[in-house]
């Protein structure tokens, strides 16, 4: 169970260069970029919740705050009732996160990559080995499990990173654009794996994407994010109804960019 409650975050950005003499005399005023203004999300167990939004909407920033990489300026983040800001270690132990950056160690084998994270999560060596075996089954990694990550294809790399994130069998799974760069077959097998995890194992899955089909195929609930704020939520059908559109893509455009259009 993951809750994001009205979180906000702004970053300091380099100020635009002043021209002429004033550039020398005056210190440029701090320039702030509001990456996330107001994002809320409720993801229940046994369900797949999609965070759908265009590029730059604030999805990755929100998920990074969920992972405790930095603190939100406002709002509250809870994982199974544990406050991420106050008890980051305890919260992280309950989450498996596949972030935006998911580099592997090229000189370690897939198995060693997975076991390393398992050990950091507190598993014994035997437990971690057993889990990597089970996950290679689930994610169809058997062929490459004992090869060094150096020469992995995009799909193999993604699956290994996913196995690494799931090694401690977390109750909550967070994925940031997991199908980026995957081919049709890899995408399909990933979808299948996510379905098994949610439906059969009762995990709470949150994943961000900007791809409509993925959301339609997978999500029990969708949160539409645009310009740093969550603007709509509901099942795919509910969102279509809300926007009064038959196609989900049209509904998304109406919900995400509707206000902008009206303003223009």
């Amino acid at each position: 169970m993951i809750t994001l409650d009205q979180i906000a975050k702004r970053f300091k950005a380099p100020a635009p260069k002043a021209q002429g003499l004033s550039a020398l005399l005056r210190k440029p005023a701090a320039h702030w970029v509001e990456a996330v203004k107001n994002v809320s999300l409720q993801a229940g167990n046994g369900r797949i919740t999609g965070l759908l939004g265009p590029n730059g909407a604030g999805k990755t920033t929100s998920l990074r705050m969920l992972a405790g990489l930095f603190q939100p300026d406002a709002g509250r983040i809870e994982v199974d009732g544990i406050d991420v800001q106050r008890e980051p270690q305890a919260a992280l132990a309950r989450m498996g996160i596949l972030g935006d950056a998911h580099g592997l160690y090229p000189r370690l084998t897939a198995r060693e990559n997975i076991v390393y994270f398992g050990r950091l999560q507190g598993l014994s060596r035997e437990q971690a080995e057993a889990r990597s075996e089970a996950l290679s089954e689930l994610l169809d990694l058997k062929k490459v499990i004992d090869r060094r990550a150096e020469g992995f294809s995009q799909g193999e790399r993604m699956k290994t990173a996913l196995a690494r994130a799931l090694v401690h069998d977390p109750a909550n799974i967070v994925l940031d654009e997991p199908t980026n760069g995957l081919d049709v077959l890899a995408t399909r097998s990933l979808r299948e794996a996510l379905r098994v995890l949610a439906r059969e194992q009762g995990k709470c899955i949150v994943f961000s994407t900007h791809i409509m089909q993925e959301v339609e195929y997978l999500c029990d609930e969708v949160v539409v994010v645009a310009r740093g704020a969550s603007v709509a939520r509901g099942t795919v059908d509910e969102l279509k109804q809300q926007a009064g559109c038959e196609r989900f893509e049209d509904a998304f455009v109406a919900l995400a960019f509707g206000n902008e259009r009206e303003a223009a």
């Binding site: 992972a67 972030g99 950056a101 580099g103 592997l104 160690y105 090229p106 000189r107 507190g122 690494r164």
Partner: protein, 393 residues
């Protein structure tokens, strides 16, 4: 499933980083080969130079132009067991090009006449101060000519019934206090610098790879999403970095042992002693340096955006520490207690003491260890604090 302790995390990260670094065979080889070769190569070059001086001293040759004008001088030279050789006609060019390794003595045509009339004939010793080998040979020749002058003066005085002792009212005896080791240290003063360089390069790759390299590969973000305290992760990484630096330093120190066998100069071989005791002392001196340098380089690298930028930033730290020994090379003997507190310079001074064969007291070793400990902990805390920032940059 229990959350492992800080110490557990340190060990897990350390082992992984070590395996990761050891599998990078190519980089390891590139670090180990120069470390192993630096000592032997340098000692060989130096011993070659010294052996050359020695054989030249044994040869006892003088290159002269116009010796036929000075039979008296030839007689004196030959009585001193010197062989007189005719200088080549193009001696000036050859001295300048460094092809001629001996200075040339010019005898004027009227030498013998002027000598007989006591008119003070003039000899000329031609050398080139940029030609090091010829320059070294100038000293013995000018002493030889002075000896000739003294003998003539003594004979003249004796003919007039005056004791030649009058020309030497004072006797001067030299007594050298330096032990053989200390004498050799004039030559071996460069060795610590090479060893410190080896430590620097040993730490550099691993330190950058485990910080900015990890960030660039995109594996730092997932690593931080484990329930591990940043200080635990950083300490594990640092241990691996320091161990690699220590390994390269150890190889470099060990390489001086077989290098001794290559010494071509017997005198140098007798003076330069490098045994297990010296290796152990070097290790004790260098361990704190490895620890501190590893931490400093990690701290420098964590603030940078790319591996390339990290390398550029690390150059500053590397230059400062690498050139610190120059302070003592430029100013030999001017040692001061404060030097022991400076990382790099302190280790240099201590290693010089070891090479001189002098014992090291705790009071001398302590400052270097203390600075290293303070520097290490400060840098590790700094890296732990900034790791999360590094990801979000």
């Amino acid at each position: 499933m229990s959350t492992p302790s800080l110490m557990n995390h340190v060990v897990i990260v350390f082992l992984k980083e070590l395996v990761d670094a050891l599998r990078d065979r190519r980089t390891l080889l590139r670090l180990a080969v120069p470390a192993l070769l630096a000592g032997p190569l340098m000692l060989m070059l130096m011993s070659g130079l010294i052996a050359q001086f020695e054989t030249r001293a044994e040869q006892r040759e003088v290159l002269v132009q116009g010796m036929q004008h000075a039979p008296t001088l030839r007689n004196y030279f030959e009585r001193q067991n010197y062989t007189v050789k005719e200088a080549p006609a193009d001696y000036e060019v050859r001295l300048r090009d460094g092809k001629l390794a001996d200075p040339v003595l010019l005898v004027p045509a009227d030498f013998e006449d002027k000598l007989a009339r006591a008119e003070g004939p003039e000899l000329e010793l031609v050398t080139d101060s940029a030609n090091q080998r010829a320059n070294v040979g100038a000293g013995p020749i000018s002493r030889l000519v002075e000896g000739f002058g003294r003998e003539r003066a003594g004979l003249h005085l004796m003919l007039r019934g005056i004791s030649p002792e009058l020309l030497k009212p004072v006797d001067l005896n030299e007594r050298d206090l330096a032990s053989p080791g200390a004498r050799a240290s004039r030559i071996t003063v460069m060795i610590p610098m090479f060893v410190i360089m080896a430590v620097l390069y040993g730490c550099l790759t691993a330190a950058l790879d485990s910080t900015s390299g990890e960030r660039e590969r995109g594996s730092l973000e997932p690593l931080l999403m484990n329930p591990a305290k940043p200080l635990g992760i950083v300490s594990g990484k640092w241990l691996a970095v320091a161990l690699l630096g220590a390994g390269v330093a150890g190889l470099c120190s060990l390489s001086f042992m077989p290098a001794q066998l290559l010494l071509r100069s017997d005198a140098l071989a007798a003076m330069f002693r490098f045994g297990w005791g010296e290796v152990a002392s070097f290790a004790l001196i260098l361990l704190p340096l490895c620890a501190a340098l590893g931490a400093v380089l990690m701290a420098v690298a964590i603030r940078t955006k790319t591996f390339k930028e990290a390398q550029a930033s690390a150059t500053l730290a590397m230059t400062l520490v690498g050139l610190a020994p120059m302070v003592s090379i430029m100013n030999p003997g001017g040692d001061a207690p404060w030097q022991l507190w400076i990382p790099g310079l302190g280790q240099n001074q201590l290693m010089l003491l070891v090479l001189k064969g002098e014992p090291i007291t705790l009071l001398q070793w302590g400052p270097a260890v203390l600075t290293a400990a303070v520097l290490t902990s400060a840098c590790l805390v700094y890296v732990a604090r900034h790791m999360r920032e590094a990801v979000s940059r």
